[in-house]
């Protein structure tokens, strides 16, 4: 492997300090460090360091997304062929390839646009490229409808990365989850594409009489739900690419919790919050949405995907341990509230998480303040003792 290393060092020569392409060093470093953990040694503080770094953390999230992604690709094909209604479904491979044909370009566009902007900002600001977009870049296509035109995807990505992230100072500084911001942007900028019954099934415009609405969409219009809880759990339903299969998402959740990368506190409290809210509405039961079974609420739509992969984004979530529990509970609560009371936006979890993103610093503020006032009380007490 020494040959490869020597070659890379040779290629990197013009990018060294004082050389011609010094400014572009972050770009070449990002590629190099993808191959090799660099030879940097500790200069200050502890002389030894943990094996974990941001690259490893982010790739773990990407791995956790893979089951949902693979299922999403298959389901994209499955929904297409089942709506074609030709009686016989094509082979597994054909279904998967149809899905891949639709989804792969979206992933490529998302990474190309997003990473392009990240690299440009890194070079402009003179810092190394942060790995955060490895996750965002995969999340964004997975929360989009399969038939979204690629140019819309590109604009959403650009908006999320520039306005949502870089404007705030880059990775680690953003207030909102970039992937959700991309989805929200697409949702509000191109409402006709992002709702209705055509968008959720690939090539739906070429199919007659498609009934590809999301379940929440039909519920909001007062229609009957044609899918069983099992369908919703396994994911053979129309919806955004990655969100439909709760089973695949649970595999991802297991990976995140087992590796400690995703906060189980947020996931568990989110599910509890949503379940309690939905049970409460079940008890009241005035409308079809209120009567929608609480278990179904947990497995339908983007809730599972949102609570596992979006709410747990450590940057935009609450950062304190206690704060995470409150944050999760409120996301669960607001997700169901929005679903039930605002049928114009049948997907509540996206808005709930964005809302809680804005409130997360406030939650942390109160949690940290508890610690501060404890310290102040101790000081006052010791002063009292001294004067006594």
């Amino acid at each position: 492997m020494k040959f490869l290393r020597d070659k890379i060092d040779q290629i990197k020569k013009p990018f060294e300090k004082g050389q011609k392409f010094e400014k572009f060093a972050p770009a070449i470093n990002a590629l190099d460090t993808f191959l090799y953990v660099p030879n940097h040694t500790t200069k200050h503080g502890a002389h030894i360091r943990d094996a974990v770094d941001l690259k490893r953390t982010m790739i773990t999230v990407v791995l956790a997304l893979v089951p949902a992604l693979l299922f999403g690709i298959y389901n994209a094909g499955y929904q297409h062929f089942i709506q074609l209604n030709e009686g016989v479904l094509p082979s597994f491979m054909d279904i998967f390839l149809h899905g891949l044909w639709k989804v792969l370009p979206m992933i490529i566009v998302s990474y190309a646009v997003g990473l392009g902007i990240e690299f440009a900002f890194a070079i402009f600001r003179g810092h190394e490229v942060n790995e955060g977009y490895l996750v965002s870049g995969l999340l964004i296509p997975m929360v989009m409808p399969v038939d979204l035109p690629l140019w819309m995807l590109a604009i959403s990505v650009a908006f999320a990365v520039i306005i949502g992230k870089e404007a705030f100072g880059g990775t680690g500084m953003n207030i909102f989850n970039p992937a959700l911001l991309a989805r929200a942007f697409a949702f509000f900028a191109y409402p006709t594409f992002m709702s209705g019954d055509k968008i959720w099934v690939s090539d739906a415009t070429t199919i007659d009489g498609v009934s590809g609405e999301t379940i929440l969409g039909s519920l909001a219009q007062g229609k009957e739900v044609a899918y069983s809880t099992m369908d919703m759990f396994l994911g053979f339903i129309p919806g955004s690419i990655g969100e439909t299969s709760v089973l695949a998402i649970l595999i991802g959740a297991f990976i995140l919790i087992a590796t400690g990368v995703g906060s189980w506190k947020i996931m568990v409290s989110g599910v509890i919050g949503a379940a309690l809210t939905a049970m409460m509405f079940n008890a009241v039961g005035l409308t079809a949405l209120m009567n929608f079974d609480w278990i179904n609420h947990l497995v339908v739509g983007g809730f599972a995907f949102g609570i596992v992969f979006m709410a747990t984004d450590p940057v935009s979530a609450a950062q304190t341990d206690k704060g995470k529990i409150i944050y999760g509970l409120l996301i669960g609560f607001f997700s169901i509230m929005i679903r039930v009371f605002n049928p114009a936006y049948p997907e509540g979890v996206m808005l709930a998480i964005l809302l809680m993103n804005t409130l997360a610093p406030t939650i942390d503020y109160f949690v940290v303040n508890g610690n501060i006032s404890k310290r102040k009380k101790r000081l006052a007490k010791s002063k009292q003792l001294k004067s006594a």
């Binding site: 492997m1 290393r5 460090t33 191959l35 090799y36 953990v37 660099p38 030879n39 940097h40 040694t41 500790t42 200050h44 503080g45 502890a46 002389h47 030894i48 360091r49 943990d50 094996a51 974990v52 770094d53 941001l54 690259k55 490893r56 953390t57 790739i59 773990t60 791995l63 190394e128 942060n130 790995e131 955060g132 880059g170 990775t171 680690g172 500084m173 087992a258 590796t259 400690g260 990368v261 906060s263 450590p314 940057v315 979530a317 950062q319 304190t320 341990d321 995470k324 942390d364 940290v368 610690n371 501060i372 404890k374 310290r375 102040k376 101790r378 000081l379 010791s382």
Partner: protein, 449 residues
């Protein structure tokens, strides 16, 4: 009176190269060095010149900010060189040692018969004062203060740290005398923390409030124990002394001599037959490690792997070091080493490696950073290794922003850099937490005092 301290948060790093319970005398060095940088914040004012002859225990410089605080020569000999760096900062004072030490003779004293002022004066004059550290700020104590209490941690939990019980086994009498002297300096208590598991040799020490400590590193950090026993409030002062230094202080009272000999553990994966050595502070590193090291691409650390200072092979042992650790340098590339579960030889406290599945495995870490510095993204990992009742990430951010009010309210007075050593180690973003805290404490000294 015994109160238990139990710690849950933290991390015991299991490293290769633990010292066997054997002590040998190190070869006497030709040249000894005193480095003012071993005493944080001290600007030295020289008393001796190059070419002067000094006795062991003779004053060679004092602190510019507190003239009473004096620093003495560890050996008798001739001042060979006063090495200066940029802006004439004194880097080290080299003393060419005599073949046998001639000591400055102080009279033998029983601390119990002395007044507070007499004990203080004796410690200051003999050069023992720099052993006394102050919290907050982790600097040498101000001789004008009277501390709320004095804390001594006789339980070392840092990776490969010298076993205090073994080192002081035969010095208990001196240790007791040191405790008696220190007790004179405070109106409060002298708190002594010892290991909880097994029988401690310090159980019968008199005049202390004894605490048994349980839990992973940093349970042995004196700052963590202070936080559990009696946290420091704004405006308060407490003092800390390490157990070996307590014995040195005691020896001064018993024998009338400042004896700079200490027992140092020579440890680390690159050391052959790791064991203990009796060595005089400031000894040349080569005399300690020559012939005992495997490989040549190594880093020698005066102290432990988390908080020690890097020393060159031709450098000298730190004044207050109780260990010398030798580990491999990590200036090599590791292909795809960032992949989850890759490189099982590199330990990780997170569960993205395989370490958590092999809790008993011992590691031989090198000095590789294992990544590059990044923005703070991951949350919760700092809290997992921070047993003090503070919010570490929020405090670090306040320190980075030099927001004094916020630092104060988040508990800057309760911490020392060493309490953030594990955060240095575990944090995903490779943030230099100890350095940030040190700089913040220095800012506090300047602004608040």
């Amino acid at each position: 009176m015994s109160k238990d301290i139990r710690i849950k948060k933290g991390l015991d790093l299991k490293l290769k190269g633990e010292a066997a319970h054997k002590i040998a005398d190190a070869t006497r060095s030709k040249v000894y060095a005193v480095k003012p940088s071993d005493f944080h914040g001290v600007t030295p004012k020289m008393v001796v010149k190059e070419g002067d002859n000094v006795k062991a225990g003779e004053v060679i410089f004092y602190s510019k900010s507190d003239e009473k605080v004096k620093f003495v020569a560890p050996v008798s000999g001739k001042i060979q060189e006063i090495k200066r760096g940029e802006k004439r900062v004194i880097l080290e004072i080299l003393i060419a040692a005599d073949s046998q030490d001639v000591f400055v003779e102080h009279s033998k004293k029983n601390p119990n018969d002395l007044s507070t002022e007499e004990v203080k004066a004796h410690l200051l004059a003999s050069g023992c004062w720099p052993f006394i550290n102050q919290r907050p700020y982790d600097v040498i104590a101000n001789s004008a203060d009277t501390p709320k209490a004095i804390f001594i941690s006789a339980y070392a939990t840092a990776p490969l740290a010298a076993d205090v019980e073994f080192v002081l086994e035969n010095k208990l009498q001196a240790f007791q005398a040191g405790i008696d002297a220190l007790a004179k300096l405070t109106t409060g208590k002298v708190h002594l923390s010892v290991k909880g598991k097994g029988k401690s040799i310090f159980k019968d020490v008199k005049g202390v409030s004894l605490h048994q400590v349980y839990g992973p590193h940093p349970a042995g950090n004196v700052g963590v124990q202070i936080g559990k026993i009696s946290p420091i409030n704004a405006g308060e002062r407490v003092w800390t002394v390490t157990p070996q230094d307590v014995a040195t202080i005691g020896e001064l009272f018993l024998t009338g001599k400042f004896n700079a000999t200490r027992t140092v553990a020579l440890v680390g994966s690159e050391v052959k037959d790791a064991q203990y050595y009796n060595v005089i502070s400031g000894a040349a590193i080569t005399d300690l490690v020559a012939g005992k090291i495997e490989g040549d691409n190594v880093r020698v650390i005066s102290g432990d792997v988390l908080t020690g200072t890097k020393v060159k092979m031709d450098g000298n042992l730190g004044f207050l070091s109780n260990a010398v650790t030798v580990i491999p340098e990590g200036n090599t590339y590791r292909m795809f080493g960032w992949m989850p579960f890759a490189s099982p030889s590199v330990h990780s406290a997170s569960r993205t490696g395989l370490s958590w599945l092999m809790p008993g495995k011992k590691y031989a870490p090198n000095t590789n950073l294992n990544g590059e510095e990044r923005a703070l993204v991951v949350t919760g990992e700092m809290e997992a290794v921070m047993p003090l009742d503070i919010f570490p990430m929020q405090l670090l951010k306040a320190c980075l922003a030099s927001d004094i009010d916020k630092m104060e309210s988040l508990g800057i007075y309760e911490v020392a850099p060493e309490d953030f050593a594990l955060i240095d180690y575990t944090n995903t973003s490779k943030l230099e937490a100890q350095q940030i805290i040190r700089e913040a404490l220095d800012l506090m000294i300047k602004e608040v005092g």
